[in-house]
């Protein structure tokens, strides 16, 4: 007890340096080591944007990352869009800030929801996400794992139209198809057409409908109880303002003597970075400044693992049927049968037991006679 106290007080007073060097282990520098290594390695992030055309997706991406990704973009006319199919376009940029490199990939989905008949228009998107998972799965199970490219989609920003009363059938269909594969962050696009009261009503409506349809959107992780009040307050505000009502802008306008990113109207100027005007700042903070790594973690730990388990089960069930099939990965035979066969076995066991009981009863009856 007394030695412990002495040890602590020694650390507090850095006078006897030699003594401290003997007792100080030094793993407190781990965070800075990780920091150094990660800066050297660089980060990568894949963001998908989805929603009907004309909702301001490209403008928002521009405002978020302050780079113009869509230099040459061909917008189709209405006639061409009558029977348009969904494409997947990838734009990759390398951006750097204070020595930290980020390889940013934006996956765009032009044509989503644009045709007259939009049945299953989310299929190309789910196929793409599955494809990335499959590729990572193969790479991970391969022999040489030094340079695995992580192309998995870490986050999907889904743009909900502000002109309606809530979620539309195509929104519900898309989110239900993708909520188990990607972190979905729903956004209310073009929020400058809604007065504050309408925004609140719409957010409530959307939250209700998300619960009603059983859609699992990305949940912000709970902050630890030992964080300071400020942080907790911020976290609470963040959770309460989901889904974020955002406005994007490509132009810089002059407002109150300052140059701000905004939209100029005859009746006023909408400032994109003004918290009272829209939730753009919250979105940016969440996406880039605080939760980027968490999004990546959830993708790796939850969505990818689900995919992997599902894939392996399918492969082993196929293998038991057709033993000549070659598998790309080394598979150990599963010690436990999967849930369905277990259920069947249990049912059959019960039936057998019942029949045995009946037989015994009959024997007894005959004996009584």
């Amino acid at each position: 007890m007394s030695t412990g106290l002495r040890y602590k007080s020694k650390l507090a007073t850095p006078e006897d340096k030699q003594d401290i060097d003997k007792q100080y282990v030094g793993f407190a520098t781990l965070p800075s080591q990780v920091h150094r290594k990660s800066v050297k390695k660089g980060f990568d992030f894949t963001l998908m944007v989805a929603g009907e055309s004309g909702l301001g997706k490209s403008t928002l991406v521009h405002s978020l990352f302050l780079t113009d990704l869509y230099k040459e973009r061909k917008l189709l006319s209405a006639e061409e869009r009558i029977s348009q199919t969904v494409e997947i376009l990838k734009h990759t940029v390398d951006i750097e800030e204070k020595g930290v490199k980020l390889k940013l990939t934006i996956v765009d989905t032009p044509g989503f929801g644009d045709a007259v008949n939009n049945s299953e228009c989310w299929k190309p998107i789910t196929d793409y996400v599955d494809q990335q998972f499959e590729q990572y799965f193969r790479d991970e199970s391969g022999l040489n794992r030094k340079n695995i490219q992580d192309n998995r989609v870490h986050c999907c920003l889904y743009f909900i139209s502000p002109f309606g009363h809530g979620l539309r059938p195509v929104d519900v269909g898309f989110m239900k198809a993708l909520h188990e594969k990607v972190n979905i962050v729903p956004l209310i696009a073009k929020a400058d057409c809604l007065v504050p009261g309408e925004i609140r009503k719409l957010k409530e409506r959307i939250r209700e409908e998300i619960d009603k349809f059983g859609i699992h959107v990305y949940q912000f992780p709970e902050c630890d109880s030992d964080e300071d009040e400020d942080f907790k307050q911020q976290d609470r505000e963040l959770k309460e303002s989901a889904p974020f009502a955002v406005i994007g802008s490509n132009t810089v306008v002059e407002a109150k003597g300052q140059r701000v990113r905004g939209r100029l109207y005859p009746w006023g100027i909408v400032e994109v970075e003004n918290q009272a005007h829209c939730d753009f700042v919250k979105l940016r903070n969440m996406l880039i400044r605080t939760h980027m790594h968490d999004l990546k973690d959830v993708t790796c730990d939850v969505h990818y693992e689900n995919y992997r388990a599902h894939c392996i089960q399918q492969m082993t069930s196929k293998l038991t049927q057709d033993s000549r099939m070659e598998s790309p990965i080394p598979i150990l035979p599963l010690p436990t049968p999967d849930a369905e066969t277990e259920k069947l076995i249990r049912m059959k066991d019960e039936e057998l037991r019942r029949m045995q009981e009946m037989l015994q009863k009959m024997k007894q009856q005959m004996q009584d006679q």
């Binding site: 055309s53 004309g54 909702l55 917008l75 006319s77 209405a78 006639e79 869009r81 009558i82 029977s83 348009q84 644009d114 045709a115 007259v116 008949n117 939009n118 049945s119 228009c121 139209s161 002109f163 309606g164 009363h165 809530g166 979620l167 539309r168 059938p169 195509v170 269909g173 073009k190 400058d192 057409c193 007065v195 504050p196 939209r263 100029l264 109207y265 005859p266 009746w267 006023g268 100027i269 909408v270 400032e271 009272a276 005007h277 006679q369």
Partner: protein
């Protein structure tokens, strides 16, 4: 006679001469008479609103007519598009207006919108059809008729800023020959001025290149030609609707209050609402009604009557009377009906006969089966009777033998008499089983069994004391013996 009279009249009509009046006659009050008559009659106006759910159709109607029409918020999850007409009676000064607002509920919400336009087209056609029916009646009252034909269709375009949506294009193409379309850009407070200009040009360009004929404000009447021409250039109107009032300056105006400013509905700088109101209500309402009647309705009528087989004039230029053609068509139709009735009746009779035959067949089969079963049953019964008799005989024989054996036993040693008893028992057992297997009256076999158990085997001590009859039968071992 009638034909020559007509000819005389038609040939004798020369060019009318124009004369000048010597004084004031007074027929310049004709327009006023017309006006006072129509005012007393009242006007009717029907608007069709087509646009996505939540785009602001009801709010705009409330703003246009400065009143609150009772509507509920529509849901996004309607199965298909349906039309919802509501009629209201409005009065301003001494002019009465019967306003019908038809809402296309659920438009643009479904995932598959291929058939979205159809309910709308069907509704418009139905209104034309009703009017046509009224016109063709023998006793008709057109002046009293509540005209439900759609006079104008306000098509609400979503303010994406890029161009028209594919659904908009498809729907407008289907509607442009049936109704006057006025496209409007809804929720225009989401587009800035420069974007709006580009958007309008893009929309008009797309409409023109796809051959969609929207309503053009008429420029042939000098009184309104100028203003209409100017307004034509501003199409489509970018409108903002609001029923809430906000204090601007020292007045209360209808506006939307944002954190960054106030959008005033009636400010020409902010949106085109005032233009829309002018054009739609104050200037061109009557023209819209006329166009509906003279252009769209006449087109519908012509197509419909041509379908029915009417023509304007025959090959030898003798005009068909509507009446005669109608009569001919009616006769044809009736005879067609009769023929079909006959056909159906015959088919019915034929089917009835067939079913009767089938039923008879089945009945016969059933009878046969019944007979067969009866015979089988009787056979079995007979066999059973025979077996019973045999069994009885055997029992009697057994009894006699038993008596004999007992007699012997009482004289001789007990050891030699086991086998025959058991053998008989076995036989009896087999006959029992035989009876049971024939599946007939179980009671017989039971009688046998009870008989067997009742019969006391007055054997001596070597017969083990066994309680149940079956065990008796089962456990008994038989050996060959004398019979």
């Amino acid at each position: 006679m009638a034909a020559t009279d007509l000819e005389r009249f038609s040939n004798a009509e020369p060019e009318p001469r124009s004369l000048s009046l010597g004084g004031h006659v007074g027929f310049d009050s004709l327009p006023d008479q017309l006006v006072s008559k129509s005012v007393t009659q009242g006007f009717s106006f029907n608007i069709l609103c087509v646009g996505e759910t939540g785009i602001g159709k009801s709010t705009l109607m409330n703003t246009l007519f400065n009143t609150t029409f009772e509507t509920e918020e529509a849901s996004h999850h309607e199965e298909c598009v349906r039309l919802w007409p509501q009629t209201y009676d409005l009065q301003e000064s001494n002019v009465q207006l019967k306003l019908t607002i038809v809402d296309a509920v659920g438009f643009g919400d479904q995932i598959n919108k291929d058939e979205s336009y159809r309910p709308i087209v069907d509704y418009i056609d139905a209104q034309f059809e009703n009017y046509l029916q009224e016109e063709l009646k023998i006793r008709r009252s057109l002046f009293d008729y509540h005209d439900t034909r759609i006079h104008v269709c306000l098509y609400f375009i979503t303010p994406t800023g890029h161009s028209l949506k594919s659904l908009d294009l498809v729907t407008m193409k289907k509607l442009d020959s049936k109704v006057n379309i006025i496209p409007i850009i809804a929720k225009a407070d989401t587009i800035s001025k420069s974007e709006l200009h580009k958007f309008k040009i893009k929309i008009m360009g797309e409409l023109v290149s796809n051959g969609v004929q929207i309503y053009q404000f008429p420029t042939d009447d000098e009184a309104v030609a100028e203003i209409n021409a100017v307004m034509n250039a501003h199409l489509p109107f970018a409108v903002v609707g609001s029923t809430e009032e906000v204090k601007v300056g020292n007045k209360l105006v209808r506006a939307r209050q944002y954190p960054w400013g106030v959008v005033q509905v009636e400010n020409e700088n902010h949106c085109d609402f005032v233009k829309l109101r002018e054009m739609l209500i104050r200037v061109n309402m009557e023209d819209l009604r006329e166009q509906t009647h003279s252009r769209h309705y006449e087109l519908y009528r012509r197509c419909k009557l041509e379908e029915m087989g009417f023509q304007d004039s025959d090959g030898d230029s003798q005009p068909f009377s509507l009446q005669e053609t109608y009569e001919a068509k009616r006769k044809e139709f009736l005879s067609e009906l009769q023929r079909k009735e006959e056909e159906m009746r015959q088919m019915f009779v034929h089917k009835v006969k067939e079913t009767e035959l089938e039923l008879k067949e089945k009945e016969r089969e059933l009878h046969e089966k019944f007979e067969h079963l009866k015979r089988v049953h009787q056979e079995e019964k007979r066999k059973v009777e025979e077996k019973r008799r045999e069994l009885e005989e055997e029992t009697n024989a057994f009894n006699r033998r038993k008596a004999a054996v007992e007699a012997l036993q009482s004289q001789a040693l007990p050891a030699t008499s086991q086998q025959p008893l058991r053998k008989d028992k076995d036989k009896k057992n087999r006959s029992d089983i035989g009876v049971q297997q024939s599946g007939m009256s179980l009671s017989n076999s039971k009688v046998m069994m009870t008989k067997a158990s009742v019969e006391p085997l007055n054997c001596s001590s070597w017969w083990p004391a066994i309680q149940c009859c079956s065990c008796l039968v089962r456990d008994a071992t038989w050996r060959e013996g004398f019979l």
